[in-house]
Each structure stands twice: as structure tokens, then as C-alpha cells.
Amino acid sequence: MKKQIPLLITFVAGMVMLVQYFIPHRPFSEVYRLFNQWYLVVAVFAMILGIGNLIKIHSVRLRRRGSGWQYSIVLLCSLGVMGVAGLGWGIERGGFFDYLYWNMYYPLSSTMFALLAFFVASASYRAFRARTAEATLLLASAILVMLGRVPLGNYLWDRLPLLGDWIMSYPNMAGQRAIMIGIALGVVSTSLRIILGIERTYLAGR
């Protein structure tokens, strides 16, 4: 039963969602709305579960003095303070939560991302080599697009942005389409396998 009931729920939910797309009328449209509401409720519980899991993992690491346990203190304290601030005083502009968001989270998050510029520059110097014909092609397109996407390109040669746009609109788009179609076919086949009960790894491998 532990296996059959989840498989049955998955099959019914999957088939209903599939059918409602092609027949968007009653009773399928009503069931679709109901399932959407259920999903939103489940998503919130998944979030609570995620937070619970995070607390558990870091509490264990802290207790056992595992590697990087000091960071677990920071994480748990930040989680607690932001949670209390949001639940206690609300998230309105000018509140305590908003203050923490703009004065702690925002600068830290921006700093982490800003560091990328330095690592990209260093990596481009060390790793971006014209070792093969394909790598040379990639390198040339990268340089043209990089220059074409900033005003400097236009300043150097007014047709450079057009060249960058051409690369984006034709070779890039053809590649992106191929990837998207491939992903879509993969999603369809995996979804069918799950709905039909062939793929069962989501049942914890049982």
C-alpha cells in the first residue's frame, strides 16, 4: 500500500492535469483550479519542510563541531532573526525586517555577485584558450558578442553591434531552440514515465 497509493495519486493527478489542458471545460477546469490551490498549499508546506531540514542539518553540524560549524551559527542566527523580524513586525517598508533586508541581505548578496567580475576576468585569462578549431570559434563569437553588447563596440566600429545581434539572432537562437526542444521532449518522456508508474525514484528508490 505504501507504494500503490502514491502511484495512484500520481497517476490520477497527472492524467487530470494532462486532460484539462486539451479539454478546458467542466469538470476538468474545476479540478484544475482545485489542484492549483492544493499545489500552492503543498508548496508552502514544502518550504516549511525545507526550513526544518536546514535547521536540523546545521544543528547537527554545530553539535558535532563538523567542518565549517562556525558558519552554521551565522546561518541559524540569521534565519532566526529574519524570521522573528518578519513574523513579529511584518515586512512593510521602513520596518525592522525591511531594515535588515536593505542593510544586511542586500549588500552581502550584491557583494557575492560582484566578486564574479574578478573571477571571470582571471578565468578568461587562464582558461579561455584557442586549443581547437571549435574553441577558436567559440572564442571569436564570445569576443564579438561581448563587444557588440556594450557601447564600446559601437565606438570601435558601428557595425559591430549588428554582428553581435546576428550571432544572437541566428546561430545562438538555432542552438537555443535545439536545446529547448530537447529539454521539452525529455520532460514529456520523464513525466509520462512518472505518471504511468515506470519511473519510481521519487518514492525514495523503493
Binding site: 548578496s109 587562464r126 556594450v150 564600446l152
Partner: protein, 277 residues
Amino acid sequence: MSIVERLEKLDRRLIFVLILLAVVIPLVRPIGFKIEVSEPVQQLYEAIESLNPGSRVIISCDYDPSTMPEIYPMNQALARHCFSRDLKIVGMGLWPQGVPLGQASMEQAAEEYGKSYGVDYVNLGFKAGGIVVVSSVAENIPATYPQDYAGRPVSELPIMDGVRNFDNIELIISLSAGDPGVREWVMIGQGRYGKTVGAGVTAVSAPAFYPYLQAGQLVGMMGGMKGAAEYEILMEGTGTASRGMDAQSVAHGLIIFFILFANFFYLVGRRKMPWKR
């Protein structure tokens, strides 16, 4: 150690310092490179221009502070454009971190154009669920968001009078730094309900959305800081994106120089030491 080997093992701190200078100097002393407006940005601008005053626009803030230099200027420019055309903004976020950013941009623009919260704009906040939130909003906005981001009942806000679902929304714009974001709005908003969808995305993710642009599933798109700067130019003003373009130009130029420089010595070294091939 030969010069080639020495250059290959160049101290990375030197590269870091050069990048820092490449970013800081143009910010302090702007060069003033000319910014040309690209077609996708022009199309997004025109989509807003074509709306009648009083029309409602959803601006979904699906990004976080890490991508703020690229996307926040788009958010500001869009809010200003909407208010200058007397459009009403229904803000929301598929990312929880995007909600305060959306609120800040709308508040700032509202102050400039004399607009008020609840009448000309609203922030519905965040709801977990990604694509299902979009789907749920399409069917019933008040049922999905009975309260705004601060817990006020949306039924008490004049902007939400008569708003039930996507039928009452003229344009959707997703400002996205990843998933959930533009893809979800296109799949449900455009694909299923036929709504007009526009986007503002990071430069690194922009190539992935060109197929949607060409297929007409996106009415227009701003890509990266350049897209934001172009929009600012269309709004006949300058903002943080326009000011940042000089720094980005020089940084790009420097990275390209690093790539060419390293490859030149790599090729020279390969000729001199063929066993290294």
C-alpha cells in the same frame, strides 16, 4: 622560467586590481559612450506606449539583490514609464527577495509622478509555487492574493476594483534573474491565455530568450544593464544603468584584452614548445 611561462602564471591579484580600476575609473570620470537602442527594447517601450491610460500592467519582480545592478534600473524605468502614461501597476514576485525591490522602485517612481499606493499601484507580494502561482493568478487574482505584501486585504484597495483575472490585465512584464521567471510567464500568460508578455533579464540569460522574441511570445525584452540603459535613453533620461555602461564597456574591453593577450602567448609558447600541445 621563460616569459611565456611567467605570463601564464601571472599573479591573479594584478588582474583583480586592473578590473577594479576598469570599473571604478569610468564610474568616477564617465567617458560618455553613445548608447544605441536595440529593437527588442524599442518593442517593449512601444508595447507600454500603446496602452490606454488606466490599463493595468503586472510587473513581476523575479530577481534578487545579487542581480540588482542589471535589473533594478529596468524596474525603475518601467515604473516611471507606466506612471508617466497613467497606467496602473500590479506588482508581485515569484522570488521572495524581489518583493522589497519592486516596492522600492514603485514607491520611488510614485513619488516622482504623484501616484499613491492602492490607487495607482499595489504590491501583491510573494507566493510559493512558481508556475502554479502564475496559473492561479491567471484564473483568479484576489483568490490567489487575498492580501497585499504587507497583509492589507486587496478587496479594500481601489486599484483592485473589478480585477478578477488575466482578462483585466493588459500587459505582463517579468523582470527575471532565473527560474521561476520569464519562462513561466510565457508558458502560462502567453501560451495558454494569449496575454502580451515582455521581459527584463540578466545579460547572461538573455540568449535563452531570443527564440521567444522571434516567435512573438515576448513582445520585447531588455537584456542586462545595456537593455536597462537603452530603456532609460528612451525615457529621455539617464539612470544608474546608463551611468554604469561606461564601466561595463571598459571592463568588457579589458577582459577581451586579457583573452587575446593570453592566447597570443599561448600560441607563441605552443610554437616554441610543441610538446606542450
